[in-house]
Amino acid sequence: MALLSKKDSKLILDPLADNNPITIQVLGICSALAITAELNASIVMAISVIFVLGVGNVVISLIRNIIPSKIRIIVQLTVVATLVIIVDQVLKAYAYTLSKELSVFVGLIITNCIIMGRFEAFALGNGVWRSFLDGIGNALGYGVILIIVGFFRELLGSGTLLGIEVLGNPVDKTGLYAFGYENNGFMLLSPMALIVVGIIIWVQRHKNKALIEDH
């Protein structure tokens, strides 16, 4: 990381693990859970959030000295909504089926708490370059969890990854299915997303005891 000073690289690396937006800061859960039944939906969502948060943090940081603090929430909402409309239109143009699948959850990036949280906590008080790094770092931390959840739910739920049948074909009984393996359709239902995230939190806190809450 010659490009970044030690302090700057911390901005990117911290949210990936010990200060993860989902598992530690509890932000942006809504979309993280709803769209993770398939890996490619999670990847697209992660990329969208990286774009919105990176650009949004830069914009807010640029205008941070001229926003009256009373109406800052509305200003922030307008910035996010504009960026999200761009993402939505791009998705509709180039990946129509996927944008149908994500349905309202693209729009819900606007109220994704990670975005408002980072604007409030970081971009309003820091310079442009540092805000950009912070935005990218937090969005990556969010994306990592999304991709892990999407990976397990698609693998165990439908036996595929990105639509490729990695465990063999359940109808022809090839691969693992030849030995009597069955897909767990339950993984595709919404409650399992919560339980998978719960287990990720468990594993992470077991490894790093400093994160354990005392009720």
Binding site: L27, L33, T78, V104, I110, T111, L189, I195, G198, H215
Partner: protein, 241 residues
């Protein structure tokens, strides 16, 4: 009948928290005590009941394709639906501010109990999600939109009330240390969501109900799609056997 069906469907089957995970952030953050949970839940019902009908009017008369026809025939070809995100969120943010000012002026006691939650609500995904689902499920009339707002608010209220009560009790249990707090809350919510899935059959029982189910084409939520996929998978399995 339509109203009753939508009412129960939005509370139990399409429950905002358990079926679509809307408003999870505040659901997790403000559910440590029952009293604060009740305050936030009431504020959510209140704001949803105002913003969903308002956004319905906005959608019908400004945003939809051809919605501007009332201005004159030359406007009939406009389609402003790409503006819906920004219009909806602007309406919500303004309404929340307005409600806060009005409540503060006329009912200080209500302001004391709801007031601190109102600014939080502008950025709660449940509120924007309510309007977006209202749009994508093509709710037909203003009355139904009001009904949808109130009943999905009640569903959210029920969810946060239940989890707050459980969290108050679970404080005295011996939870494995790394799961304490957030982890166990996630898993309990998952189990509650599994419980709520059993309401799924509530409006589909009986043969004469079958056409009624197709009449209300609400199969938009991902959850329903998943259920369908699952049912298909089950059928193929049965055929194989």
């Amino acid at each position: 009948m339509e109203h009753v069906e939508l009412f129960f469907k939005s509370i139990f089957i399409d429950n905002m928290v358990f079926a679509t995970f809307l408003g999870m952030c505040s659901y997790l953050a403000v559910s440590k005590k029952v009293s604060t949970a009740v305050g936030l839940g009431a504020a959510v019902i209140f704001v949803l009941a105002i913003t969903v009908p308002l956004n319905w009017l906005l959608d019908q008369y400004i945003l939809q394709e051809g919605a501007l026809a009332w201005l004159g025939p030359e406007f009939a070809s406009y389609d402003l639906s790409f503006l819906s995100f920004i219009m909806f969120i602007a309406t919500i943010a303004t309404m929340v501010q307005l409600v806060e000012i009005v409540v503060e002026k006329f009912s200080p006691s209500l302001y004391n109990s709801l007031g601190i939650f109102l600014p939080l609500i502008a950025v709660n995904c449940a509120i924007l999600g309510g309007s977006l689902f209202m749009q994508s499920r093509e709710i037909a009339t203003l009355g139904l939109a009001f009904n949808y707002g109130v009943s999905s608010g009640i569903g959210w209220f029920l969810a946060i009330l239940a989890i707050a009560a459980i969290r108050e009790k679970i404080r005295y249990s011996n939870v494995p240390a790394p799961l304490r707090g957030l982890g166990i809350t996630f898993i309990i919510t998952g189990l509650m969501a599994i419980g709520f899935m059993s309401f799924g059959g509530m409006l589909t029982g009986g043969e004469e109900q079958a056409p009624a189910e197709t009449k209300t084409v609400l199969i938009d939520s991902e959850d329903e799609k998943e259920k369908e996929n699952d049912a298909l998978a089950d059928n193929t399995k049965k055929e194989l056997n």
